[in-house]
Symmetry: C2
Subunit: 291 residues, 2 copies
């Protein structure tokens, strides 16, 4: 008699499951590369492959899972080299330099491609910095804009043709996805409240994923839905685990805008605050667009 | 009779000289890692090791020198893992993924440290994206602020205790380095005109270096000179070689500010325009500070 196990874990936590594969020791045993297997989560599917934010979160999870990790994330840069194929992937994380209070990481995600040679292809590279932070003089100069409370805003009813948007409760304050794709140029600003659906306590991987929630700025700017793909995303963390725990299942206010659209690539800069107005992360990305 | 050769090359071009060392072929010969030797340039010396901007430029130069390179830089992230010791370093650049119009790079800079085991230590990691760009609909939303022309502004006469500041003609428009270190809090904004000294036609490496010219935001914000060190810097290029050539030896206007100072790290976001008002690059970094 077979036993059927139904996971009741949150889909985000299911996505973060990485299965250890091997350990590569390096010269003098000072550091090791850990290899895991992960799965692209259907619950976070996008038009082609998974939502980039979930892949970025999985890459960070490899760093967080490494037994030699020092401190908490300060910086993460993820480069999307190719769309992931649905299914298994390998992720390796290596601390390339450990200092007294900071540590530098290189992460590579790869998949066996379909060319039959059996050699893995790189689909993502990432670098991260973790640090044992100490309490210091602090000041947040990026002030949360005045917007209505999330409970007073209707949840977005965007065309949900992709799975991942169901995983977020998004409540737009400004700069919604265009209702008409009529080519009417506008600014590139979007402000929205967001949280996991179902709600889930905030942590570094989920904050990372939420840094990629904004729909493409070029769609807003031009009111034209053209093919896009993020090529590189950076997240700077301005919070420790204590601030994330205090944020809990509350909403984050996200604000995103572009500064340049130039010959096939645009940038996006965004900020994420919790409901108490604490700036938790700033994030930047550069995105390919077809025009 | 020995022959004495005095290089008349620009100090920036001298810094960009990388001597090929070896080539590592990879499985199936689809890509190769190139290894070079470079030198930390005394002309760009900082308090400890070289100016970070020149090291970032040298890392990018490795990508630009690689015979398998596709297109021009779109994105560069440099992680400063340790201060470089004055002298030689090794740099390796590998195209980890080549697509039809984009290419993903991993760069590692290493030095033999003083612990006597003869094993290189990583001092810098970088990732880059290059792309064969095509002319598309373009728009720059980050507009150059109205400031006086460079010729009408006196050159900064800051205390030049480090070599690298002599390599730039800087003309501050706003947010100069504090005249008094009295702890008087202010905003974190700086605007300045800058160009190489002596003048040199702009290219991707020099644009990269200029992205790191701003003095630390925490010094401006607090009027306190505390120890700092950039841990990660990202540059997004919003120009092709044609725009850089057109900029020539002209000044760039740089504008930088911070959004968060939190428990030992602050961020900096900056823009760089040429005198014609073209946005050439946006750049972000996260910086350790002691307080």
């Amino acid at each position: 008699m077979s036993k059927i196990t139904v996971s009741t874990a949150h889909p985000f936590d299911q996505a973060l499951v990485l299965t250890p594969v091997t350990v590569t020791a390096h010269e003098h045993g000072r550091e090791s590369t850990r290899h895991w297997q992960g799965q692209t989560p259907p619950a976070y599917g996008n038009m082609v492959g998974p939502f980039g934010g979930i892949t970025a979160a999985q890459a960070l999870q490899a760093v967080l899972s490494h037994p030699e990790r020092l401190g908490e994330p300060v910086s993460l840069t993820v480069n999307f080299a190719a769309a992931l194929a649905d299914g298994a992937f390998r992720v390796e994380a290596r601390p390339v330099r450990t200092n007294r209070s900071t540590q530098h990481w290189v992460v590579v995600v790869s998949q066996t491609d379909g060319d039959g040679d059996g050699v893995d292809s790189v689909v993502l590279t990432a670098t991260a910095v973790t640090a044992a932070r100490r309490a210091t003089w602090s000041a947040a100069d990026a002030i949360m804009p005045a917007v209505p409370a999330p409970a007073s805003i209707a949840r977005a009813s965007m065309a949900k043709r992709v799975a991942w948007v169901h995983r977020y409760d998004m409540r737009p304050c400004a700069g919604e996805i265009p209702a008409e794709w009529n080519g009417a140029e506008a600014d590139s600003l979007t402000q929205l409240w967001m949280r996991d659906d179902p709600p889930r306590p905030l942590d570094f991987p989920s904050l990372t994923a939420m840094a990629d929630v904004f729909y493409p700025r070029v769609w807003r700017r031009r009111a034209l839905m053209t093919p896009v793909g993020t090529v590189s995303m950076t997240v700077y963390f301005h919070a420790t685990a204590a601030e994330l725990t205090a944020t809990g299942e509350g909403y984050l206010l996200g604000q995103a805008r572009a500064q340049s659209f130039f010959n096939g690539f645009f940038d996006q800069s965004a900020e994420l605050w919790n409901e108490a107005g604490q700036l938790l992360a700033t994030t930047h990305q550069i995105v390919y667009f077809k025009a």
